[in-house]
Amino acid sequence: MNRRLLGMLVLPLFPFSEGTRKLPPIREVKAKHEAEVLALPGVVSVGIGQDKEGHPVIVVGLDRSRPETEAQLPRRLEGYPVLVQRVGSIKAQ
């Protein structure tokens, strides 16, 4: 039996655990949700970054400390972690 057929037999045994579930592309997830995130008070940016292990994360930038906005932000968007950073007011230089 060739390797591809073997893979088809083995894969369905572990398809649905959280760690191995295939996530949609992070760019699509960010694009889908960024308008509602940017509408929250003090949100100045939404981008794609990496955590310390190099995994992709969605990064939300705030103009200053905004506890109420942070409380409204989800911890994850469709499986991707959401990090919050204070980036300050961004101005044309």
């Binding site: 760019r27 100045v44 940016s45 300050g88 961004i90 101005k91 044309a92 230089q93």
Partner: protein
Amino acid sequence: MTNELLSIRNVLNKNQRQLLSRRNVVATGIGYKVTGGKRASNLSLVSSALGCDTRLKAVSLQAGDNLVDAAIARPINAHDVTDQILEIGTIQGTTSGVSGMAIKKSGRTTGLTRGEVLQVDVTVNVQYGEGKTARFTDQLLAGPMSQGGDSGSAVLDETNLLMGLLFAGSDNTTIINRIENVFTSLGVTR
């Protein structure tokens, strides 16, 4: 030649050496109203390079989302411009910015500084004076490596591949247009 202006060639006119910079820097040089003292030195700097009958082709800020803040200008005398960037040297080509890329720029205010691309595909609201905000998409975000007056600086990787045009920032953040978007928007190439 100044480090705020980047010598490029226009695809439509391959032998015509041109200047690329942030829109405001070029506009200031041809006599647009100078807003605030910070721009004052740009006036003489760009004027001396371009002269007073320079024609401007700008990509305007739009009501919706923006990709770049850039403009090109044609010097009166091509010999006034070189391909060298102050403190950096010659551009070796172009590349696409990715997370973790080590980058550098030479700017009027803070000189030669280095940073790292921390975020890509950034959608960001940028303030243009009091109460005026423009939203930009597909931007690159780096750590602090610029201040007011540095906009228009070319941003390169460590091997002098051009990857962006610096145009905005905060105390701890720098926002960079992707160079591929700049070139596409203005119809130019290097």
